[in-house]
Amino acid sequence: MLVEGIKSRPVYGGFAIDPFARRHIFALEGEGALALLDQKPALTATMLNRSEVLYVAAGPKGLDHDLALAALKPDRFWQGPTIETLLFRLRGSLSAATMSTRLYISGREGFIGQCMQVATDMGMDFSSIPTEHRGSLARRVQCVHCKGITDDVRTSPFKCSHCGLNLLVRDHYSRRLGAFQGVNVDAEEPGTAPQAEELFA
């Protein structure tokens, strides 16, 4: 069960290297590495000399793309252990960046949303940031009741990991929180929630 057709659902337009940018920062998670590797013809030595690649492998199932990324020989290659450390590093890189810096984000939706939070907080406009969704469809969802956020949600409805309510996942997305909204589905008669369906494998 999924509530669709809501305008706030993000659209990920895909990468296109901006030839005018003086600096490129790539924030990549798991399969998101392929979004950069697939740009091959545009990855010239000049462009890579201006590039900083930040990478985190995704979860236990994630394949490691660190060797392929390092082989590109960008100006800087950095691999972090968790999304949190990558976000911290990204904030540091952006705090010294200029207007001719372009940021590209690819990975799962939850990762894109969290990097986007850092970027917009640094004054970047979301429409100036190319994004590409790669990897699992699992969602980052906020419980609208207890405000707790659950990562890697694969089913709808699902049990809130904080307050235990049965939440229906909507396409309603908050850019501020970088999360979809989950709403209690059996408030009137607890226990009557529909069967959970695996929608976001």
């Binding site: 005018f20 940018a21 207007m99 406009d125």
Partner: protein
């Protein structure tokens, strides 16, 4: 009525502020406060020039929170279609005018961390209101203001006095100063927004330079003051109204339509807002698009026309109006 509810105003004061530039203070006829506006907004001023109705957009330059009156500045244009000549030569203190409610197509992006304003000549007007707003909100800004000469430039002395020489940079072409757009746009911190208002050539140059400096489109803003361009007179058939109007050589389609008593939609009257977009049903000739609203593809398709500034050259033009 198109253009929103009109406000009856009186000219309370006229000052000459530079060669060919006058400032007009407008207060409400009934003495009530005017609406608060947002910096960058303009109003459409309706003038009655001996029975000939003229309507032009002017940026509001007074402080946005000052509701006691609005200030506009008008450059006397040499090849004026009549609006600036009327305001400069015929209008007196105490005279009545009608203005629209303020409309803003050139607002500051409040998420910005720093704002760079690039003004050319009379293009300074929207920035006067913006600077008042930035200053009040304690937001970082810089003004780079290019003028022909010290005599032709308006307000530059007051601006340096009020905001300081560190925030107000002046460039006089008569003294061979050039606004260094490229070096200015390089190395600006993330979250900077640039705004340009001035002659077309300056606006084009700034937009192109920003692109070449690697700036994203979303952070560069522009407003052009387009006046309808004169040209050969032509006929336009209005299918819904069932009439044919003659568009004079110094007239826009919108003005001709209004003169025929038809209330066509409009807002900015300067080819920027998109409100007067009209479907072209038949066109045997060439549309001369002068607006900055339609995309290149839309202009090439010949299906739409912005009747406030665009013209036509050919044998038959039929509009869905």
């Amino acid at each position: 009525m198109s253009g929103g509810l009109a406000i009856a105003v009186r000219v309370s004061r006229i000052d000459t502020v530079a060669a060919n530039i006058k400032r007009f203070r407008l207060v409400r006829h009934d003495g009530e406060p005017l609406p608060v506006f947002s910096a960058g907004a303009h109003v459409i001023v309706t003038m009655d020039d001996d029975g000939h109705r003229r309507r032009n957009p002017y940026s509001l330059m007074s402080a946005p929170h000052d509701t006691s009156g609005y200030d506009i500045s008008v450059l006397r244009v040499a090849e004026s279609r009549g609006g600036s000549a009327f305001l400069h030569e015929k209008l007196r203190e105490g005279d009545a005018l009608t203005i629209s409610h303020p409309v803003n197509l050139f607002h500051a992006d409040k998420r910005g961390r720093k704002h760079i304003l690039l003004a050319g000549g009379i293009g300074i007007t929207p920035f006067l209101a913006m600077m008042a707003e930035f200053d009040r909100a304690n937001v970082a800004f810089e003004l780079h203001y290019a003028m022909r000469s010290r005599e032709h430039g308006a307000y530059w002395q007051e601006l340096v006095e009020r905001y300081g020489a560190h925030r107000v940079k002046l460039y006089f072409s008569a003294e061979n100063d050039v606004l260094p757009v490229a070096s200015l746009l390089h190395n600006q911190p993330l979250g900077t927004h640039a705004y340009v208002c001035g002659p077309d050539r300056m606006t084009d140059f700034v937009l192109r330079t920003a692109r070449e400096c690697g700036w994203p489109k979303s952070n560069v803003h522009s407003e052009r003051f387009l006046a309808p361009i004169s040209g050969k007179a032509f006929d336009a058939e209005l299918l819904r109204s069932g009439i044919v109007v003659r568009v004079g050589d110094h007239e826009s389609i919108l003005e001709a339509v209004e003169a025929a008593g038809i209330d066509a939609p409009y807002m900015c009257r300067g080819g920027a807002c998109g409100q007067c977009e009209t479907a072209v049903v038949a066109c045997n000739g060439v549309l001369a698009h002068h607006d900055v609203y339609l995309s290149e593809e839309e202009k090439a398709s010949g299906r739409k026309v912005m009747i406030c500034v665009s013209r036509f050259d050919g044998t038959k033009l039929s509009l869905d109006l």
